[in-house]
């Protein structure tokens, strides 16, 4: 649609380019600061953007690094899907039952506020060193915020019971109510929760790989830390940033679109 309008008026193109330009400001600023910092620090350890991006090409073409990339993506994908599905279901169910919302909610909230890194040894002790323990650790990071946000959104629907009244006046069954009213109504919150969960799952995966692993991007980071290769580390940080931002941007776009569609004109 944007493209159609752009073709007709031409102003759309300028607006689009303007938005793209605005988006480029932050990365450009980071590059400039990074470049100047490198000049100022003038240390043999620190690396500027030029050296780091030079490293990136070499790093990406090494089979070792590609294997690590696959390991991380696999961990994140499995943990993310599990966290979204299970967190979503648990959150929705608890949100529908006000009593259990009050009984279990504080426990979820408490577990969420505990820094999960402290129980990382338990994952190693019980699940060993490998995909299962890494994925579980990443999953735990995403599950709780997912469940808490979905639970809050669902409980909120119940308190503003206009939705339930609508369902009742239309003589809907519970199943119909859930499918046609409740689920669509919490969809924006669900997407927000998924976006937040993604960030935390990614963090959890990187942490697990940093602490104990024989592969993965986190492992590569620690290896290069011990080798004091700042250029490689920074190249990897940029790469991880790019990987992280893409799904985030997709979820965010979806979220904004849906919210706009559900709340037309005005609010």
């Amino acid at each position: 649609m944007t493209r159609l309008r752009a073709k007709r008026t031409g102003g759309g193109v300028r607006a689009f380019l303007g938005r793209l330009g605005l988006l480029a400001v932050v990365p450009a600023a980071i590059l400039v600061v990074w470049f100047i910092a490198d000049l100022l620090v003038d240390s043999t350890v620190f690396a500027g953007p030029v050296e780091s991006f030079g490293q990136m090409v070499g790093t990406l073409s090494s089979p070792r690094y590609q294997a690590s990339l696959v390991v991380t993506l696999e961990t994140v994908a499995i943990a993310f899907v599990l966290a979204v599905v299970l967190g979503g279901v648990v959150g929705f169910a608890l949100g529908l039952a006000p009593f259990w919302f009050r009984a279990v909610g504080p426990i979820l909230q408490g577990i969420y506020s505990i820094p999960k890194v402290t129980i990382f040894p338990l994952f190693l002790v019980f699940l060993g060193l490998g995909l299962v323990s890494r994925t579980s650790f990443a999953f735990v990071h995403g599950f709780f915020p997912m469940a808490i946000i979905v639970m809050g959104a669902t409980a909120n629907l119940r308190t503003t019971d206009i939705y339930l009244k609508l369902g009742a006046s239309l003589g809907m069954s519970f199943g119909q109510l859930v499918r046609t009213i409740l689920l669509p109504a919490i969809l924006p919150s669900f997407l927000t929760a998924a976006r937040i969960a993604f960030g935390l799952v990614f963090l959890g995966a990187i942490l697990a790989e940093m602490f104990a692993s024989n592969g993965g991007l986190g492992h590569e980071l620690v290896r290069n830390m011990h080798l004091v290769r700042v250029d490689r580390i920074l190249a990897q940080v940029v790469l991880i940033g790019i990987i992280a931002i893409i799904p985030n941007a997709l979820l965010r776009t979806l979220e904004v679109r849906l919210t706009r569609r559900l709340r037309p004109a005005g609010s």
Partner: protein, 253 residues
């Protein structure tokens, strides 16, 4: 349900969890080498709390790093948030990145900070502040957004000086949101400091747990984990209470 109130169920569920943790290793379903009975964890935690070196090498370095990082994030977060909120072009350029910030595993920078700076409290605190500050920025901006233009008009009609307007009208209006940001910032500093200590450091609670694990000293490890749980939940409760006390806009948390 069972004629119990919700909070009674909360306690019951927690007690059940503790009971399961107590019984599993005692019956031998899980080896005592990997899981201690809950009562022994509590004893170990109390013993740790009576040891002076647990404070000097564990609790204090962590607490100091967490509080400094939190303070930096709080002050810088509100200031930067205000700046971005005030300057429109800045906001347009930065806004999309603010929402994407927590998708980035900022922790990936820790190895770089260590390689540049060397091991110590510096990189740990810097990382934690960097991790926490954006939560304050985004929430402060939400808060500034929430202040209706009418309070500006009111201040002008009362001829309030700019400074007083900011401190007595504008900032209090944004405060409930800022407090949400501060609560998150505290949790993030806690997470970040402990993770950094766990990975590579010579002091702090995270380091303490990691060493205990490497030595396979399960009593010390579970004891220290329990202490961290206690600290985290206590801090979270305190902040939530403070937020409720200082917030007049109803339940925002």
């Amino acid at each position: 349900m069972l004629a119990l109130r919700a909070w009674q169920w909360t306690l019951l569920l927690l007690a059940l969890a503790a009971l399961v943790l107590e019984i599993l290793p005692r019956v031998g379903v899980v080896s005592r080498a990997t899981l201690l009975p809950f009562s022994e964890m509590v004893v170990a935690a109390v013993q740790l709390l009576l040891r002076p070196d647990f404070y000097t090498d564990g609790v204090l370095p962590s607490l100091l790093a967490i509080l400094i990082a939190f303070a930096i994030a709080a002050v810088a977060g509100v200031a930067i948030g205000y700046l971005i909120w005030r300057v429109r072009p800045l906001r347009q350029a930065i806004d999309p990145y603010l929402t994407a910030y927590y998708a980035l595993p900022i922790f990936a920078l820790y190895p770089a900070l260590i390689a540049i700076w060397g091991q110590g409290a510096g990189p740990i605190t810097a990382l934690a502040a960097l991790f926490a500050v954006v939560a304050v920025i985004t929430n402060a901006m939400n808060g500034f957004d929430s202040a209706p233009p009418i309070i500006g008009k009111l201040a002008r009609s009362m001829q309030v000086p700019e400074r007083t307007y900011f401190l007595k009208f504008f900032l209090p209006y944004a405060m409930p949101y800022i407090l949400i940001g501060l609560r998150l910032a505290f949790l993030y500093s806690l997470l970040s400091v402990l993770a950094a200590e766990f990975l590579l450091s010579s002091a702090g609670l995270g380091h303490f747990i990691q060493i205990a694990y490497v030595r396979f000293d399960m009593a010390e490890m579970y004891g220290a984990i329990l202490v961290v749980f206690g600290l985290a939940i206590l801090a979270e409760r305190l902040i939530t209470l403070a937020v409720r006390k200082l917030t007049w806009v109803g339940d925002l948390t």
